[in-house]
């Protein structure tokens, strides 16, 4: 500012000089112009600018006005002029400076004066404002009033409190805020104050701006003049509302405290620092039934057992100042001691000295008892936990085992520490699951429920059901887990057994070959077995109405039976036809039994349907069969009879009665024997007796008299019927009329004989070549010998010896030829059947000699194996020769086609059994296709055979009571065998 101002002042000098220059040039009066500028500069700029302007003016003079113009040097001639200018200029500067200084000094004095007066005023104003501010800001409404009491000043506080404007409040306006109840009293007080000039206090209520009255303490003090007259009253109103309230609260609190102390369910005493009873509460008085005075000796109220110890302890607490705490028994007014918990605390003053002891006696009798009970219960619980037959463990929230019960230890044989690694006890198969489930339970807080196998101390695993429940705190956090393992091994086994048993039952039910169903008590079908479902092919739902599967024809009867059973509870039984899945009906025997509960009410019906279709059919068939059998027995053209085991006839069929013309009674007592031909009675009766004695089948042939007296041959056979023990129960017999057959047989036999002869003749034809050979051999010898004989005789000279020999040979060979002829004749001789003892080997050899040439011709080798000591048989020589001849020829012929193997005929004879001789003729021929058929008449394999040969052979053998059969030999060929009975004498 000063710089600016200085620049301004010097600038003024420069500018004014400049102006003066321009004016001077124009007016050509430099001195006046520059004087003016110097004065201006000096006047307004001060001394410095004045000197500057002088300097500038001097330069301007020198340069512009003094010759040489425009040069800064002055002609010496002009020095005076220049001096003329400089001197006045300097004078001006001095004068103006002096003038300016005088003015400034005056101005300065004026300013100072004015300043002092203004400060004083401001001071006064400030003091008043401060005072007012103080008055207004003291937190107490205040006022002043004139001597007569009307208010002439009211502080802001008062106005703020009441909310009244100052104008309204002044004078007596303040009464409006006084509580109506207090107004009179206030006025009275005010009057008294005015009268007495004293300054008492008053409590009165003033209305606040919001209408609430608060209590104030009014105080007034008078301002007196020199003469002592009261000039002015000054008053304050102090808000005592809060203090009042606090006082009231304190009072109420103290009252309550007292009440509390008296009413708390505990005994309270205060003690002096010395330990004597000071005060007691009402309860203590009431409890002990003694006055506070009597309670001075409180220790006497204690239980005698506790007394000494308690007194001691109290004394110690009093001495040391330690808090006192005991359990002691105190006698009640009625003399009963109860347990009290006594707590004593010392109250200390600021210096730490004990002022007083407070003792609180709390009745803990009940708690003591509860504790006692609790303790015993916990013991019981512990006992229980240890003794219940299950494994119990308590685990931390993370699943760590904390404690376990004894069973757990006993079962696993491990300690609690070992059990920390509990998965080891779990069966390896269950272990992973168990751990996973535990983890899941711990993570989610879900109760655990599973079944695991745990290892017993002996290494055996048993099934346990594990349950774990989390114990939670009030926030729901899991504190620990309680787990219970219950041994369910036996239950498991039982379950499995039950399941197996149930399965068995189900299997039985489903596999029994009957239809099963259960019905409700009302008769509706409940359950059926699979067999029934399969049979009907209907689902259970459709079977509810079982009428649909019953044959409509049986339905009414079944319905009535069923409804009666349902009504009466009697077992149900019926035969019904039930529809099968394929729509056909089968007969079922249906039986239903009710199952009753304990009260005898029917709970359910169990029905079994048994398929009796086949039985019914069988019954029908049996009935029919029996009928037919009877019909047959009665109608067959034979005599049928039955006897008791001892031979007594008890049944004969109608034909017997018709044939004999007798009644059944006539047959009893061996009456039937009278019907027999007299010649047959004895052998028949003997045989019958033997049969009844031995049980052998009875077989006999006898003649039976017909009603008309004619005897007819009957073939009789009787068979015993034996019971399960093999004893003869009955004899059944049949007599077949063989009269006609017998006659036919006779005819047959004669026919056969004739046929046999015809066959013989045929055989002769067949054997003619062989026979010729047999005869020709000796004949050739005879002729040749004869010729030789002649030649020997006719020789020159005759050789008689040779001739003789030849002649002898002729005789011999002639005889041979005769023998051959005789044998042939014998073979083909037609003679009556004649049975004589024979040696079969002889017969065989004879026949072999006949076929020898035949076998040679056909290149057949004959081998024989004849038993040397063969007993004789009885038979017809010719027929047996014929038989053997036939068999040999058959064999020889059978080998005709054979070229790839030897033609071999093998004949063997020997004893077959005790009474039989067996002859076998075995060839190596083509064999037999039908070993039995060859014996049929007219069976032949030869081109011009009659097919009678073997048929006749068989009849010949049978006529000799023998048997003839044929069999294919091993490999190839056939074997013909026949047996003949030995001669009776040979047998014996």
């Amino acid at each position: 500012m000063t710089v600016f101002s200085k620049a301004w002042r010097y600038g003024l000098a420069v500018i004014s000089c400049g102006l003066a220059l321009s004016l001077a040039i124009r007016l050509d009066s430099p001195s006046s112009c520059f004087f003016l500028a110097i004065m201006m500069s000096n006047l307004y700029g001060g001394k410095g600018p004045g000197v500057l302007s002088v300097l500038l003016s001097s330069l301007a003079f020198d340069y512009f006005f003094f010759p040489p113009k425009y040069h800064f040097w002055i002609q010496p001639s002009l020095y005076p002029r220049f001096a003329a200018f400089l001197v006045p200029a300097a004078l001006i500067v001095v004068v103006v400076e002096a003038k300016r200084r005088a003015g400034e000094a005056r101005r300065e004095v004026d300013a100072k004066y004015r300043q002092v007066s203004e400060d004083a005023l401001a001071q006064a104003q400030k003091s008043e404002a401060r005072l007012r501010l103080i008055i207004d800001s003291i937190p107490v409404p205040a006022w002043s009033s004139r001597a007569d009491g009307s208010a002439d000043f009211i502080n802001q506080r008062w106005l703020d409190y009441t909310g009244l404007p100052l104008e309204d409040a002044l004078g007596w306006g303040w009464k409006i805020v006084c509580h109506p109840d207090d107004l009179d009293r206030t006025m009275e007080y005010w009057r008294s104050v005015l009268a007495s000039h004293e300054d008492p206090e008053l409590e009165a209520r003033l209305r606040r701006f919001d209408g609430i009255y608060r209590r104030f303490l009014f105080r007034v003090s008078p301002l007196r003049d020199e003469s002592g007259n009261v000039v002015q009253w000054y008053g304050t109103c102090i808000d005592i509302e809060d203090r009042k309230r606090a006082e009231e609260a304190l009072r109420a609190s103290e009252h309550q405290l007292r009440l509390m102390v008296d009413s708390i369910p505990a005994l309270v005493t205060t003690m002096t620092p010395a330990g004597d009873t000071e005060a007691v509460n009402e309860r203590l008085v009431a409890y002990t039934g003694q006055t506070p005075g009597e309670l001075k000796n409180w220790t006497e109220k204690l239980h005698p057992e506790d007394r000494a110890g308690i007194a001691d302890r109290w004394r110690r607490s009093v001495e040391t100042g330690d808090p006192y705490e005991t359990d002691e028994r105190v006698r009640r007014a009625d003399g009963v001691y109860r347990w009290f918990h006594v707590q004593g605390l010392p109250m200390r003053d600021a210096e730490g000295h004990i002022v007083r002891w407070y003792l609180l006696w709390t009745d803990i009798e009940d708690r003591k008892r509860t504790e006692e009970a609790l303790r015993s219960r916990e013991q019981q619980l512990r006992l229980m936990v240890d003794s219940i037959p299950a494994l119990i463990s308590i685990r931390t929230a993370t699943g760590e085992i904390e404690t376990v019960n004894r069973q757990c230890l006993d079962y696993t044989g491990m300690t609690v520490d070992q059990l920390k690694n509990w998965p080891e006890t779990v069966h390896p198969d269950d272990r992973e699951d168990a751990i996973a489930q535990w983890k899941d339970a711990i993570e989610n807080g879900n109760p655990l429920n599973n079944e695991v196998r745990l290892r017993r101390t002996d290494g055996v695993y048993r099934w346990f059901q594990a349950r774990a429940l989390p114990l939670r705190d009030t926030e729901g956090g899991i504190i620990r887990w309680h787990t219970l393992y219950v041994d369910i091994e036996d239950r498991k086994r039982a379950e499995e057994a039950l399941r197996a048993s149930e399965l068995n039952f189900r299997l039985i039910v489903d596999s029994i070959p009957g239809l099963l169903c259960t019905n409700t008590a009302a008769g509706e079908i409940e359950l059926v077995n699979k067999t029934l479902l399969n049979y009907t092919g209907k689902p259970l739902g459709e079977l509810k109405n079982w009428c649909v599967i019953v044959h409509p024809g049986d339905l009414p009867a079944v319905m009535s039976l069923w409804s009666r059973s349902v009504a009466t509870g009697h077992p149900f039984s019926a035969e019904v036809r039930v529809c099968r899945a394929d729509g056909s009906y089968r007969w079922f025997q249906c039986r239903g039994f009710p199952s009753r509960d304990v009260d005898g009410r029917i709970v359910r019906w169990y029905n079994l349907l048994t398929d009796v279709e086949d039985r019914r059919n069988a019954e029908e068939a049996l009935r029919a069969s029996e009928y037919h059998l009877r019909l047959m027995t009665e109608t067959i053209p034979a005599l049928v009879w039955r006897t008791t085991p001892d031979g007594e006839i008890d049944y004969v069929n109608r034909r017997v009665l018709q044939y004999a013309g007798k009644r059944l009674e006539d047959f009893g007592n061996n009456g039937w024997l009278q019907l027999l031909h007299p010649d047959d009675v004895d052998p028949t009766f003997r045989k019958w007796q033997q049969s009844t004695r031995t049980g052998e089948p009875h077989q006999v042939t006898y003649r039976l008299r017909r009603a008309d007296g004619e005897y007819r041959w009957f073939d009789v056979r009787g068979e015993p019927l034996r019971d399960s023990e093999g004893r003869v129960a009955e004899w059944y017999g049949i007599c077949i009329d063989v009269e006609d057959r017998k006659r036919t047989e006779e005819v047959l036999r004669s026919t056969q004989e004739r046929l046999s002869v015809a066959s013989q003749i045929a055989t002769v034809g067949e054997l003619s070549a062989s026979i010729a050979h047999e005869v020709n051999q000796p004949l050739t010898a005879v002729v040749s010998n004869g010729n030789a004989c002649l030649r020997w005789l006719s020789a020159q000279p005759p050789n008689l010896g040779k001739a003789m020999e030849a002649a002898e040979r002729i005789v011999r060979d002639g005889k041979d030829a005769g023998e051959v002829v005789r044998r042939i004749r014998a073979l083909f001789k037609r003679a009556a059947h004649e049975e004589v003892p024979l040696d079969l080997n002889d017969v065989i050899v004879e026949v072999l000699s006949l076929v020898r040439s035949e076998t040679e011709k056909r290149r057949v080798t004959i081998e024989t194996e004849l038993a040397p000591d063969l007993p004789p048989v009885t038979g017809d020589r010719v027929q047996l020769q014929q038989l053997i001849l036939n068999l040999l020829l058959n064999g020889i012929e059978a080998m005709d086609p054979v070229t790839d193997r030897p033609r071999r005929l093998f004949i063997r004879s020997g004893r077959n059994s005790e009474d039989m001789v067996l002859v076998q003729v075995q060839d190596s021929g083509v064999g037999l296709k039908d070993p039995d058929g060859v014996f049929d008449a007219f069976f032949t394999t030869k081109e011009n055979g009659m097919g009678m040969g073997l048929a006749i052979c068989r009849s010949v053998v049978q006529a000799h009571n023998g048997r003839l059969w044929a069999a294919s030999s091993d490999g190839y060929g056939a074997t013909f065998c026949f047996t003949l009975p030995l001669q009776l004498s040979a047998v014996s």
Binding site: A769, S770, P778
Partner: protein, 206 residues
């Protein structure tokens, strides 16, 4: 033993026939040997003389026809069959196989003896032919291989020159061969040599 006394063999299983025939044949002065079976006959040692065989058709074991078949291979004697009940197929077969006669039993002594004479005569001729052929073979065996090569050309009537041309050798060599052949074979002339070659079944060269 070589003799011209003919011998008759009789084979019959019936001793009576054997005796009768032996006696009959012996009565005309022929030697007779009788056998009971073919096997017996084959086993026996027989003299080297003209012979004939009186054979029964039916024999136990190998039959007469079997024996005939057996003998046909070698130089068996001619056969006269006798049979007790000769059937036609057997007789045909016997005759076809070269039997001299087939006589059904009983037969007349003339028939038999005539047949025996014829058979012996036949056998004698056959025997002689067999002997000659054997002699020829013996001669032929003396020839060298080259001579045997040359022989067909000689018997074919080729000149020595031609033969030499055929065989690629000199005429003189062939001439030497021819001389040797004639000498070794004992042939008096070319015609005789040709006959010999014919009997030896050596075909002339073409």
């Amino acid at each position: 033993m070589t003799s011209d006394n003919p011998i008759v063999f009789v084979v019959d299983d019936d001793y009576r026939v054997r005796e009768a025939l032996s006696s009959l044949i012996a009565s005309v002065g022929l030697h007779v040997t009788a056998y009971g079976s073919a096997a017996e006959f084959l086993a026996a040692e027989k003299p080297d003389a003209p012979a004939c065989l009186v054979l029964d058709l039916q024999l136990p074991g190998a039959s007469g026809l079997d024996l005939q078949r057996e003998l046909a291979n070698g130089s068996g004697p001619p056969i006269i069959f006798i049979t007790g009940h000769g059937d036609i197929p057997s007789s045909v077969r016997a005759m076809k196989a070269g039997a001299i006669e087939f006589l059904p039993k009983p037969f007349g002594d003339e028939d038999l003896l005539k047949a025996i004479d014829a058979a012996i005569a036949l056998d004698r001729t056959a025997r002689q032919e067999r002997a000659e052929l054997a002699e020829l073979r013996r001669h032929y065996a003396l020839l060298t291989p080259r001579e045997r090569e040359v022989l067909p050309f000689v018997v074919a009537g080729l000149a020595n020159k031609q033969t030499a041309g055929e065989l690629g050798t000199s005429e003189i060599t062939i001439g030497v061969h021819r001389g040797q052949i004639m000498r070794k074979m004992g042939a008096g002339s070319l015609a005789e040599l040709v006959r010999m070659a014919d009997r030896l079944r050596i075909a002339p060269a073409k």
